[in-house]
Each structure stands twice: as C-alpha cells, then as structure tokens.
Subunit: 337 residues, 4 copies
C-alpha cells in the first residue's frame, strides 16, 4: 500500500500516519518528494488496510498494491483449475457447452429441448425451476414441481443438470437433483447464498453481476471458496452500459483479464447478454476465439412459445448450425469441443 499525503501536509500528520502504520504491525517507508510525501507500507495484509488511513488528517488517498484474492488469485495458484460436473471437466483442453431452455415450462418442452441439445453432444443441460424475474407479475418458474420433472428427464437422458438457486432454503430440494448450482447475476453479492452454496460442496456456476467489476466478481468467488469449496466456474453474461441495442454489453475482454488474475475456469453466456437470438451465434464464436473455457447458451425446441426470454433462445436449426460451426473455432484456439 502507498499512502499519498496532501501537498504541504504538516510533519505532525505525516508522523501520525507513520505511527499508525507501525501500530498495525507494518513497516513504513516515507518518501519525501518534490511535490508530495508518500508513505509506502510493507507487510502481509497491508493491502486490506487502506480504508483505515484515508480518514487521517492530511491523507489524500491510500493506494492498495497487490492482489486481494487469497484463494481465487493466480498469485497463489498459477495453474488453471478444472472443475468437474458429473464426469464432465470444465476448464481443461476440451470446451464445455451447457445448453437448454431458460426455464422448464412443461415436461414435453424440457424433454424435447434436452433431446435436441444431447443430439449435438451437449452433456450438461440447463432449464431453471425457479426463475428470478424483474417484475413480480411475470412467470416465476414451476418451482418444486419443475424440479421433479427435471430429475425425471435428466435421468431418462443421462444428462447432468445445472439450475439456478435463489435462496438457501431451496438447497435441500436441489441436492440430489442438480449437479451444479448456478448463482444468477442478481445474486452475485448475496453473500448468505454464496456461503450456503459453498457449503453444499456442489460445483457452482457463478454469473457476473451486471454492474460488477472483475475485482468484485473474483471477490464473490472468494466468498464461496472460503467455505472450502473450490469448484467455482465463472460466467460472463454482459454488463450494463449506455448501449441499448443489445440487452447488455458482453465484456469479452474480461476473459483474458480473468485468465491473468485467476486460475478459475470461465464460461461465456451470449444469450442473456445479447437478448436476441440472431446475435448469439457470432458472440458464441467470439467467446471461443477469445479463450473462454466454454459456453452457456439458451435454446428452445419452439422459441415462439417460450414463457420466458423467447427472443433470445436459439431455434433447433440455429443451435445445430452453431454446434457445427464451433469446432473450427475451437481448433483455431487450440482447443477441442
């Protein structure tokens, strides 16, 4: 950490800062510059102490230096993590594709869509029983009844299942049904939920909040990891910007940035970001090219009848075309699919 003093800071104030640094067990390194004095602070944990200095007199600001991710950071674990869902690895050389409808609406709808994705080699299917919706007047999912249907279908087809969990109270119903728990973007900083999900021991798909910096995102992963559960897969799904031509702005730059900062695998969800099905295939290809470990895509056997997010779901034809196009991009990126 570097503490920057205001110009003309009196010696007494600089001394007070130095004294506080020592009181906290760190080593102060004052540097008296032409324009300003700065105090460099050395010691384990100094990163986290910046806040405590900013209210001292004559302190302009305290700049943390170093990486605050003790578990998610590449400083502490340089080699990439591979998370396994059932027997499907995420984060290895082979790209993972998770696909399915936004929500389960009926046995037929889920079964037909799951068969569709399975026929293209997909082994992990999505389709939420509980749906977070911005308005309470919108369709909220089938709930517990949906979970039962999901279980039947996934066992029938031999697929693994990822489902969004919205509160710790849903955990009991989900254990034994789902193979991976999803934390949605709205709940990325629902710390009670992160902790509960971490303790379940199940692999977790953590979606980035729409206004979360990469730094916030990795700290949210850290909340899961402090429970001892390190099976966390990150998922970029668009951030909120001024541009409204797409529902969100897919931040593909985050993939190489996270790759540098963290060892956790990263998926990309182009469907929620785009909000419109025609933009999904080009963005999915770009996600593979930029180095993502896989995709999280919405498809529906009949998008025009979807109760939720129909406009962003790929039709069976569009999904087939995408799955046929991806291997060439994967190969160009040095991966398989």
């Amino acid at each position: 950490m570097v503490i920057v003093m205001q110009p003309g800071a009196p010696k007494a104030d600089i001394d007070a800062v130095i004294a506080k640094v020592e009181e906290l067990g760190f080593t102060p390194h004052p540097i008296f510059g032409v324009e300003k004095t700065v105090v460099a602070v050395i010691g384990e944990g100094a990163y986290d102490a910046a806040d405590m200095f900013e209210s001292l007199p004559s302190v302009d600001r305290a700049v943390p230096i170093g990486q605050p991710y003790k578990l998610a950071g590449s400083d502490v674990k340089p080699e990439k993590t591979v998370v396994t869902v059932g027997d499907v690895p995420i984060g290895g050389e082979r790209l993972a594709v998770i696909a399915g409808p936004c929500a389960i609406e009926s046995r037929e709808q889920f079964l037909e869509t799951a068969k569709l994705v399975k026929s293209h080699g997909v082994r992990i299917v999505r389709g939420s029983a509980f749906k977070p919706r911005t308005s309470p007047h919108d369709f909220q999912g089938l709930g517990l009844k949906g979970l039962e249907l999901l279980k039947e279908v996934k066992e029938e087809l031999g697929l693994y299942l990822v489902n969004e969990i919205m509160e710790p109270g849903q955990l009991d119903a989900m254990v034994g049904v789902v193979d991976m728990l999803q934390i949605g973007a709205r709940n990325m900083q629902n710390f009670a939920l992160l902790s509960a999900v971490g303790k379940s021991g199940l692999p977790v798909l953590l979606k980035r909040g729409i206004a979360s910096t990469i730094d916030d995102f990795l700290k949210a992963a850290e909340y899961i990891m402090v429970t001892g559960n390190h099976n966390v897969v990150l998922c970029e799904r668009g951030i909120r910007t001024f541009e409204t031509a797409t529902r969100f702005t897919l931040d593909l730059s985050m993939v190489p940035v996270v790759r540098r900062l963290s060892h956790l695998p990263i998926l990309v969800d182009p469907s929620h970001a785009a909000g419109q099905h025609d933009y999904v295939p080009p963005l999915a290809k770009a996600a593979v090219a930029v180095g993502a470990d896989g995709l999280f895509v919405e498809t529906h056997f009949r998008p025009d009848q979807a109760l939720c997010d129909g406009p962003q779901a790929l039709s069976p034809t569009e999904f087939a075309e995408l799955m046929e196009a991806l291997p060439a991009f994967a190969e160009a990126a040095g991966r398989t699919i």
Copy 2:
C-alpha cells in the same frame, strides 16, 4: 403495446401476429404504413405480453406502452404515501433524517454516535449488525451480539432503529429489535428476501441497486408490495458509471422522475454515493433541494477509528454543521426538518 413488423413483412406473417393477438384475448389494430406495418394491441395486460411476439417471424420488435407498476405506480394511487417508523412519518411535509454509523463496532461506539445524532434531533438511528462486504476478508459486523447492543442502546435513548437484513433467516432475530428493515443495494433483486421482508409487515427501506434503472427499482418495490406490505421507502445511493472520482454517481435526477411515476417516499444516501466525507454535506443539501423526503447519512463519533467506511463518515463537527445548514434548504423547498 405496439408490434413493429420488419420492412417487407409478408402478409402471412402479419396475419399470424394478428391471430396471436386475438388468441391472447386482446384487440389488434393493424396500421399499414409507407415503410412498415405496425399492429397496435389494445387490452388489459397487453403491456406484459411483448416478449411473446418478438420471436414470431418478421416481427422487428414489440414496444410496451403504459405503466407496469400495478401497486407502486402513481397511475393507481396519485396521492403520496407516508410511511411511519415508530411515530416518525417519512414522506410527509417534514423531512426525515436517518443517521448513525455504518456498522455497530462496540457498545461505546454506537452509544456515543447515537447520542450525537439524537442531540441534533434525529429520531431514527442506523448502524448495522450484519454488514455485506465485497470481500470475505473484510470486517463482517458483530452479528447477533451487535443486535443485542443495538437494542439496549436504542431503548436507553428512545430512538428507532433501521438495520440491514441480508437473508430471510435473520428475520426472527431482528423482529422486536429493529423498527425498519433495510434492503441493501446488492440485494435489491434478491426476490426471496424482498418477499420475506414484505411479509414481516415492518416498514422497509429499499436501496437502489448500483446498476438498476428506475424501472427495475420500482419493480423491486412491487415485489414487497405484492405481499400486502405497502410501507416501502425508496433510497437513492448512487449508480455505477465510468466516473471514479466519487465511489458512485449520485443520481439526483431520479427524485423528480420517481415522484412522477410513483407515490412512494424517497430518501437520498449521499454517504455511500460519495465515498468521501467532504462531498457529503453539499450532496445532502442538493438532495433536499431536489425534493427528496429525507436523508440517510453516515456519521461516527471517531471516523478515524471506524472499522468500515470510515472515509465517508461525517465527524461530529461536520454532522453538526450539516444539521444546522439544512433547515434553510428545507424551507426553500417548502418543507420542514
């Protein structure tokens, strides 16, 4: 709702849209323009059906028209709502000031800060027992022990208490201690929590999410109100933008916008938005001038020792100066304080 067809849409596709409108029980009004055909849709509930049309062939987009807030909207209740905390009204002619530390850190810290704010006429005190923090390695609050201390002090001083609730499981411990439940910005779309808090019957202070549009915000209020609990106070606390000179960008324009769209009272929290104490007094004055129903401000009897958010807390002197300055602004705005 108005459904806009793509240029050159074939008649069959337009007919399919018209048929679907009728199937849903609405009345279609096709208008054949020079460049495009649009189909206006009339009927109760047509607002919510836009999604169902956007996946039909040749449909460019469906534009909802009307107000989606069935309970929070000024369409349904033009007169302003007054929410009462203990015997303190929020939303009436007199401005409400809620003040106190970010978190309770010790009995002494909370007692001294509570005395300070009381001495300036404040009747509702803040100071969280549970603190949501971006990193799991930061101070998380005193928890249940903090709640006990809060209860002792508020009763000793005859104050009302608002506290942030982070998960439904904390509700039992909070009932009987807190007089108003706060939903923090990170949980604004934690729908399970909104619902639980609504059912408690306690007044709710709902903070705006950092990337929530006003539309999202009012829909979150709607989640509480559908439980039958209409005691919702909205609180603006800054949105995330590209500007980093302040921690967030306080969106004071939202006050007149919400005033037009909704009957709910609105407070402004300049402390979290600014992130720095010197910017808090001017922003607090601006909040009164723009028409807010009150303020939510952080102060601490010794900011340099705060365990959390010290840089944004007003010192006792700064708080006193602000409280002395506010009446003139309140009077200019046609209010009292």
Copy 3:
C-alpha cells in the same frame, strides 16, 4: 509515480527500471516488500512518465501520483477564479444565470424569449446560430443569418451573448457578436477548436463531454489555458449512463470534486441533462444547493413551436416560477442571485 513490479520480478528487470528512472533524470526509491517490489520515483514531471515504464519487462503497472493540471489545478492556484463576461462576473459570490432558447429560430422568437429572460434579471442570453445535431437530417440552425439577428437583439436589449462555436472557421464571424464562446459537449476534446478559442481571448464556456471523466474535463480546460486565456468556465450537463429515464445523468457530485481540484468556476445545465422540462426546476435548485456558481438553462417563449429540443425548454411560466424560487436556495447556500 510508483512503479509496481510483478511478483517474483528478477533483479535484472528491477535494475533496468531503476536505470531508466535515472536516465530520465528522476530519483528512484526501490522498496522491497514481502510480496512485491515497488519503485517510487521522485522528481518534477515524474507524473507524466508512467507510460514509458509499463512496457518494460516485469513491470505490473505504474501509478501516477500528484495533480496533472498545471494551470487549472488548485495546487497551483488555490483561490477561486472569477471570469467576467461583459461586466457580469461568474464565480463570485453572486450566482450567474445564463438563459434563452436552444437555438435562434427567428427574430421574433429570439427577441421575445430574450425579453422574457431579461425581465427576470438575466444578463447573459443564449440561443445558438449553429447547432450540432446528431443526425444531418435535423435542423442545423440559422447560421450567419442567425448571428446577425442575435447581434441586433442583444444590442437592442443590452444583453450579453454566449454562442456555441463548432469549428475554428466560425471564429471571425463570431468575434464582435458574442461575448462568450461555448464549446459543446461533443467538441470537448476537439483540440484544434479549444486552441483556436483560447487564442481568441474571449471568455469560454466549456461543457463536459458525455463520457468525460472529471480528469479529462480539467485537461480539456488546460488546452484552452495553455494559450494564455484563463477565462474558462466549466459546465456540467450530464453524463451518459445506463439510466434512460432522463436523457443524461446530471452528475452533481462533480461540483464539490471540481471545487477541490480546480479554481475554475462551474455552471450546471439541467436542461440538456434532463431532456424534459418538468425535471429542470428541481435539478436547478439542487445545482445551487450543491455549490455551483450558476445555471445554464433553456427557455422558450413558446416551447411547443420550438424547432429543436422543445421538450426540455421551460415555458415562460415555469421559468418565472424557477427564478422566484432560486433566491431562497442561493441564500441557504451563502450566495446571492
């Protein structure tokens, strides 16, 4: 400047950084920490050299420390600047109100609106002859003919005139007509224009770009000031964020931030930020409360006939009500109007 090395940086790379620091004439202060090595750099001008270090091997980043505004900064000139337009001071104890229509549309329109604003004590009138419009198919202003009409009317009424300049080539026509040149938000980083306007010696109203940080804004002011013309008035007019309920998000927090960083006066334009007339009066009051040096407001004697930005112009009645309400806010803020 502080240069942060990557963890495990080899000694040779650290030595290379130190050598480069010395080569540039600065003094290096290497600090060997537990996790990382940093090199603090002392010397006049070290602020600007950060870029040159970030491409060296094993350098993580270079953090500039200090204020980069050599002319606009409060470091170099702590006392506030007062800019005079005709004999009207901007930045002193009395607030300045600049008002008028968006554009001059006809002699009658400008004359009637100018009379209106004059009757409320306004002494500087606005109303552009040249209008920057997002689409080339929109009304672009009356041009040179408009300038003639403006000159006639301002002389007839004894008012001062501010007008937007869009290219250096318009300068000759404007000198002798306008008393203050306005740089619009779209041209805030049109450096050729900033320079030309600076050299004119006329006072300049510089509007903030919609995606400009405060830092960018002050550096744009610096471009004018390096020509020797220090008569720069800053104007906040909203930044672009994800919120679309208002046209832009008025960033009132910038007023106390700029007050801290710079000595230049600051006006606020609530009209362009809001984009809708009903939101203008509350935002104007808030601007006074937050400490702005004045307002830049649109009004029109008949808003429903305006050729440009009619929805945001105050009607004569609304303008009168605002001007009657402002003195109480000014007084509360320790100012006159």
Copy 4:
C-alpha cells in the same frame, strides 16, 4: 411514429395532436385503448417529427418507428458495401488488416515498423502525424514534418497509409500523402470535420466515440455520406463503462448489430480498447470470429521506447504470432486474410 397520450388526456388535447399531425402532412391513426390513447402517424419523414409532439399538452411521449439512416441503413441498400483503399478492398471476403505504430516518432521508427507489418502481408499502414492527446502536456505528434516522413516511407515500401485528421485545416497537407482519412473517437461528432472529410472524396475510417450508441455512430457516418462520399469504414474501438481493468470495453456485440442495420464495412481496433498488449491478440481473434471485416492494430518495432501508448503496442514477436494465428480464425468465419 406513435404518439402516446397521458392517461385521462382530454379530448381537446387529443384533437390538437391529430390536427398537428395533419398540419405536417402526415396521416393520423388514433387508437382509443383501455388505459391510454395513442395516435399512430403514417407518412414519409414521420420518424423525424417526434420532438415536435412531446411539448404538446397531455402528450406522454412520441416513439419513433423505422430506421433513421437514409444512406447508411440496410433498409435502403441491403447489399454490403466494399470500400477500396488504393487497390485493397475493405468489406469483401478477404479481411483487411491495418497495422503500424500509434504515431510516427522518427523516420527509423516508422520505417522499421512499416517493414515489419509489410513482411506479414499488411498493405495499409497506420502511424499518425497529428496525435490527439487528453492532456496538452503530452507528446502531440511530429505534425507536417511527420507527414513528409510518412510519404517517403510509404512510397519506398509501396504501402497505403491511413492517418488521423483533427481539423479541416489539415486536409490540404494530407491530400496526396494519405490514402484514407481517419476520424478519431473524440471527433466522431465533430460535424464540421465529418463534412470536410466527406468532401475530400478520400475513403474515411470513422472510429466510434467512447460514449456513442450504435445509433449515434451510424448518424455520424450519415454526415459523411450526405456529402456524396460513401466510402466510409466503421471502426469499433471500445466504449467507456464502469469496468477499469481494460482501458475501454470492446463492444464486439456491435458487429452483428451494425451488420443488421447498415451495409458499411466494420473494422475492430482491439489495441485502444484494451490499453494493454497482452489482451490484444485474444480480442483480435474474437473480432474475426464475431464477423468483423478486419482489424486495426498497433505494433511498434520497440514498444518500450514508444512516445505514446507503448503499453498497448504489440512487439514484433507478438505481432508475428498474431498474424500466424489469424488465418485459422478467418477460415472458421468463412473468410480469407
């Protein structure tokens, strides 16, 4: 256009709207709904008239429907445009790569870097003589002297040259030297410059402003095209968002969106968006995958000595690796390079 009336709008106000629609030569279609009345407006040019209705009494808002790009829009020209620079087509089946240093710093620097890019098959080189810099205290380019050096080198190597123009006054010096004029992000709405550049007849590379919507961007292209010069190539280079881990957020979603709305070719500049060289190759690959017509990339024969933007320039090794990796991505995308 659809004009939405406020709930309970009196008949007189609806009649006034209808009368104004007819007065402007359009055909009104009033639709009396359960909650609200809307007036659909049919007629050539109705799109542009929305502003004129929003100030009428009882009008809630006017929603434009249709495409406002009369020249840049795919409505008017569905087939893709190919722009030719020298004999290099941009927008056809073969991807275009424009590469070179940020600015020309010396004859040697430009010559060596130009040789480097030529050796990888690049035929259009960049390297500005005039540099827009946020601060006036930064390196501003070599100016006219730089242009002479550029001319010598491009002729020596048989390359085409693109250079940024910052004001109409630079046009004369550039004609005969540059083969394509670049409008930088800061000048995207410098309408005088757009017009001057359009009239030059030279191909134009138009970079997107950092806070420009896709709609703003296409309207800026329209400013060039109304001069009769349709040789416009669009270039995405990142937008400003809250995320600061990269300098800007590269908006790759804009590529398929623009592809749908416009016939103009689109390049992507990953260098300015990322601000850091290691992120450039993955983003360049993603740009090809998402369907861009080519790349605009910075490279430097010795990045550690660059006077401007060194941290984002690819080293000769990195550039070579990228150029070797691209063909596989181009082929996967159905293109050549």
